[in-house]
């Protein structure tokens, strides 16, 4: 597994805390593994909860109309990068 950056670790912890993934260790979330479907198995309800947590912590409002949003939610790495680029 590739190492998490500091920012990725922070987002991983936010994901684990927000979605009550009690049985998952944030430090073990692989940055390049899919968050939805096969990987962590998250669904659209999780996407909404995660979006809320991200807006509260980073003041980034996620918009599905944004063409990059699908890519942003693909992995921990892409989500973390999206937040970094769009943070106020």
């Amino acid at each position: 597994m590739q190492a998490q950056t500091e920012q990725e670790r922070e987002v991983a912890e936010l994901i684990v805390a927000t979605l009550n993934l009690e049985d998952t260790d944030a430090s073990e979330l692989a940055p390049e593994e899919p968050l939805f479907g096969e990987g962590l198995g998250l669904d659209s309800i999780d996407a909404l909860e995660l979006a809320l947590a991200i807006s509260q912590k980073y003041s980034v409002q996620l918009k599905a109309d944004d063409k990059n949003i699908q890519e942003a939610f693909a992995t921990l790495r892409s989500l973390s990068k999206y937040i970094e680029e769009n943070a106020a």
């Binding site: 912890e13 009690e22 049985d23 998952t24 260790d25 073990e28 669904d43 309800i45 109309d65």
Partner: protein
């Protein structure tokens, strides 16, 4: 009803607005001509799977299919295996909008003349809605033109304020789901409403799409989207009404929404088999108003629903008590039935799946008291959490995947082998306390 009955494709006048497409408002006359031209181009098949995500295009695709005598299949989700199965079961079908293909559609006609309103046979099979099973073996529910039309007119009567001549609708739920189909596709065809082509998802999307619509506006949604909207704190443009279905709406959420957005929130009760059955304003009313045209026969394990426009009577797992006239109270649900994010499933079936997994000695999937997500406790000494997640992940719908899953030494079964809900919840509560701080994990996340 004699077989020779026909009803028009839409009851709206030729100059009324039917939808707001990506390029602006669309009136009935050019819409119908457009659908007619598209219908002539459709390949010759009995069925069509309409995956179009632009709601205006979906409406156009649905009407063209109906004009071509083709039945629209409504997949319960967009998963590749769901679509594969549909294509196997209905081989004489074509697909609209697969893999985000551009919609192969003739340009909208420039003229506005309507060369006669097309009529559809009352007994034409126009759609099949699938009741989502826990394990993804959906049951087919036939929707004839008379069923869709009478249901939609009943919905207009039950839900819409007749003093509003045109209400502009925005829906967060997909048109492929029966709730989305009834409120955002059929309502514009049969009552004074026009629908936005957009399907907003995140709170900011909802706010933007709502503002883009002219007043008066209504929002068609689900408790999941509405809760995210309230928590986001994002302000909304003026909205006359919010309609919600697919999961129970709490009175708290209903009141918060009404207060924050100065609107009325109507909770709608129904299912894919019957369509919308009843409604109530949850902030004020305990009782549900049954839609005209339905009759309910109460029973101890469920309720038999009769509707003169339905092909057959439907048994629903909800236990009700008629109170006065057409009002009823919802007493509960058959314990086994669960409803998550608009999908209905059986706990018994899920538990069977879990306990059928090689290596699982014992296990229980259940709904914790204060959650909208299932949890599980499993006795499987040789398995990891990742094994269990992987096994279930390929066999049950994502919304039914339990989380968290705890590996335990044993379940608190009584001597008779019975597993009391109270004991399950107590053990779960203890495990949750232990596991709360920063995710102490026995095994990895599959990393």
């Amino acid at each position: 009803m004699p077989d020779s009955d026909f009803f028009p494709l839409t009851d709206r006048g030729p100059d009324e607005t039917l939808a707001f497409g990506a390029e602006g408002p669309v009136r009935v006359a050019p819409f119908v001509e457009h659908a007619r031209r598209l219908a002539r181009r459709f390949p010759d098949h009995r069925y069509v799977i309409n995956l179009l995500t632009d709601r205006y295009q979906y409406l156009l695709g649905f009407c063209a299919a109906t004009l071509a005598g083709q039945c629209t299949l409504m997949p319960p989700n967009r998963l590749p295996r769901t679509l594969e199965r549909l294509k196997r079961e209905y081989p004489d079908c074509h697909v609209l909008g697969e893999d985000a293909q551009p919609f192969d559609c003739p340009p909208r006609p420039a003229g506005t003349a309507l060369y006669g309103m097309p009529e559809i046979a009352a007994d034409q099979l126009c759609a099949i809605a699938f009741t989502s099973g826990t394990t993804g073996n959906p049951k087919a529910n036939a929707k004839y033109w008379r069923t869709l039309r009478a249901g939609s007119k009943g919905n207009a009567h039950l839900l819409l304020d007749r003093s509003v001549l045109q209400l502009n609708l925005l829906a967060t739920v997909p048109p492929q789901h029966m709730w989305g189909m009834e409120m955002s596709i059929l309502l514009p065809l049969f009552a004074g409403t026009a629908v936005s082509h957009r399907t907003p998802f995140f709170p900011q999307d909802i706010a933007d799409a709502l503002e883009a619509l002219p007043v008066p506006r209504a929002l068609i949604s689900s408790p999941v989207h509405l809760e995210a909207l309230i928590k986001s704190g994002i302000p909304l443009a003026e909205v006359s009404g919010i309609f919600t279905a697919t999961a129970p709406l709490s009175a708290d959420l209903a009141s918060s929404l009404e207060e924050r957005f100065d609107t009325t929130v109507t909770d709608v009760f129904g299912c894919s088999e019957t369509g919308v059955l009843a409604a109530r304003r949850t902030s004020r009313d305990a009782n549900w108003r049954l839609s005209d045209g339905f009759r309910m026969i109460t029973g101890p394990d469920g309720t038999l629903v009769h509707g003169s426009h339905l092909p057959e009577d439907v048994m629903i797992p909800d236990i009700i008590e008629m109170v006065a006239g057409n009002a009823f109270r919802l007493l509960g649900r058959h314990q086994d039935m669960i409803n998550i994010a608009g999908k209905r499933g059986s706990l018994a079936e899920l538990n069977q799946r879990l306990n059928a997994m090689p290596g699982v000695n014992d296990g229980v999937i259940f709904m914790p008291g204060n959650s909208n997500r299932l949890a599980a406790m499993v006795v499987a000494p040789a398995l990891s959490l990742a094994d269990i997640r992987h096994y279930l992940g390929s066999r049950v719908e994502a919304v039914f995947l339990p989380r968290p899953i705890y590996l335990v030494a044993g379940l608190p079964r009584q001597e008779t082998g019975k597993l009391a809900r109270k004991a399950v919840l107590e053990l779960f509560e203890r495990l949750s306390q232990v596991n709360k701080p920063a995710g102490i994990s026995a095994s990895g996340s599959g990393a």
